[in-house]
Amino acid sequence: MEFTDWIADARNIVFLVIGVAIIGSAIRVVTSPNVVHAALMLVVALGGSAGLFLMLGAEFVAWTVVLVYIGAVIVLFLFGIMITRAPTGRDSVQLDHARRWPAALVALAMFVTIAWATTVSFGDALIADRVVRAEDLGAVLFSRYVIPFEVVSFVLLAALIGGIVLARQDPER
């Protein structure tokens, strides 16, 4: 398709704006010298992804992203920044890390895997032009995808136990 045809569709313009916002804020997340600013940029990036879900008619997923990621996860980040002795902004500090190249490699590998998996499994398939009902989503989640769903909850359980182990004060010491 020609670019002029592509850009003539209003939905593509919205997609373009959201996409640019997500990429721009994601770059600021890792380059910003201020931890609180980085967390807020992450809010913009996640809000953009919620917007993409809304464009695909996945209302339930979109608002769940807002509720869980923006409303809980990032708020906990900010909470953590404020109650610990982490730098709360003002004086910019060295946020770089010695192992940044392995981290970049992992991030790249992750991106390639997801992009490849999405391209291979969907190809040029079109999604139905309607709003996905929460009921259908629940039915699919608890029948076809029930095992991945449970596995993910085990990951969360492991994270929870890890958190308790790290935070617990050893009575013997």
């Binding site: 339930f60 509720l67 409303g71 708020v75 902004g89 003002r90």
Partner: protein, 368 residues
């Protein structure tokens, strides 16, 4: 007149514009009234008179206060993070306003051939949208506390974050049985499909049982209603859970460094949120705008649902004010204990019990 209204509401764009403006106007006027209502009721409970000078019975007192705040100097301390400092009051208003956009505050009105829903937007996942937006409300407080560059606001911000995250969980848990119950009501073949849409939830509460008890969800889901109301008081940072702005401990909390209209924005958002949670409780548990119209002529009858909605909402708001006039502020550890060790386990236990009973009713005993 009718033709003009029909033309406006027939067009999706203009109808959205008009509804947004109307919702905004309702929230503003309502806040003016609500602040006066609170001050008067608290005054009577404390054997005082309360504001009674500006306008009839002091009704214009809030307006006068608002104008005063508007013309006050806005002091900006030197150590603030300016961008965030200015954005925080606005961030407080946005979720408060958006939540009321999805609440139906009256029966749909038919003008000519066009049906006008008295609701900003009827989302399929309205209940989830409300939870998502109320979880965003914490940002304004965190940002205000952090951007002020001063220790009391920061403490207020940290307290608020912990409090709002804790009670949000309880609030969400209290609403799960509602969604479950809505789909069970439907499975019996009475009405439509499972739903999280607020207008559908109101429709599902129509009718009555035993002739005189209305079909409101509160009669089946009383524990949910109680948990929701406690969580709602905490979520809006109202007494006895107003540790966020405890003036005797942390000066004024997150808004210590704000003055003039910027301070008024936080104040406004708090009152709008109070109205919102009461309106949500009315919509979800107390039948929303449902109520008898006493066979009035249609010229007046269309306003009856709106009146019922406001009447029920103000009944709950009276409880908010009553609590403030009655209960002392809780200690911080008591607040956390109540949230995590009482409210959330109670919510989970009620959810499991309710699910088991409903599964038994729908599918019979597992051993049969």
């Amino acid at each position: 007149m009718t033709a003009v209204l029909e033309a406006i509401f027939g067009n999706a764009f203009w109808s959205a514009v008009v509804k947004t403006v109307v919702v905004f106007a309702i929230l503003m006027v309502n806040t003016l009234f609500l602040v006066w209502f609170e001050r008067r009721v608290v005054a009577f409970m404390q054997n005082r008179i309360g504001p009674n000078r500006a306008g009839p019975m002091g009704l214009l007192q809030t307006l006068a206060d608002g104008i005063k705040l508007f013309f006050k100097e806005q002091i900006t301390p030197r150590k603030v993070e300016l961008g965030m400092y200015l954005a925080a009051p606005v961030a407080a208003m946005i979720p408060a306003f958006l939540i009321f956009m999805v609440i139906p505050f009256g029966e749909p009105i038919t003008i000519g051939n066009t049906v006008v829903t008295l609701q900003g937007a009827d989302l399929n996942v309205g209940l989830l949208f409300i939870l998502a937006m109320s979880s965003l409300a914490v940002y304004s407080i965190v940002l205000a506390g952090w951007a002020s560059g001063s220790k009391y606001p920061l403490l207020g911000g940290v307290r608020a974050t912990a409090q709002m995250i804790s009670y949000e969980a309880a609030m969400g848990l209290a609403l799960v049985p509602v969604v479950l119950f809505a789909s069970i009501q439907i499975a019996d073949g009475s009405v439509g499909v499972g739903t999280m849409s607020l207008s559908r939830l109101v429709e599902l509460q129509q009718g009555s049982f035993r002739g005189f008890i209305p079909g409101w969800f509160v009669f089946w889901l009383l524990p949910s209603f109680i948990i929701f109301m406690i969580a709602a008081v905490a979520e809006t940072n109202r007494a006895p859970f107003d540790l966020v702005e405890a003036e005797s401990e942390i000066v004024g909390g997150y808004h210590t460094e704000y003055s003039g209209i910027r301070f008024a924005f936080f104040f406004l958002a708090e009152y709008i949120n109070m109205f919102n949670v009461s309106a949500i409780a009315v919509t979800v548990f107390l039948g929303g705008w449902l109520g008898p119209d006493f066979g009035l002529p249609s010229g007046i009858a269309w306003a009856m649902p709106i009146m019922w909605f406001l009447l029920k909402t103000y009944a709950l708001l009276f409880i908010f004010v009553w609590l403030r006039a009655t209960l002392p502020r809780m200690r911080y550890d008591q607040l956390m204990t109540l949230g995590w060790k009482r409210l959330i386990p109670a919510g989970l236990a009620w959810l499991i019990l309710f699910t088991l009973v409903q599964a038994f009713r729908s599918f019979g005993a597992p051993w049969s």
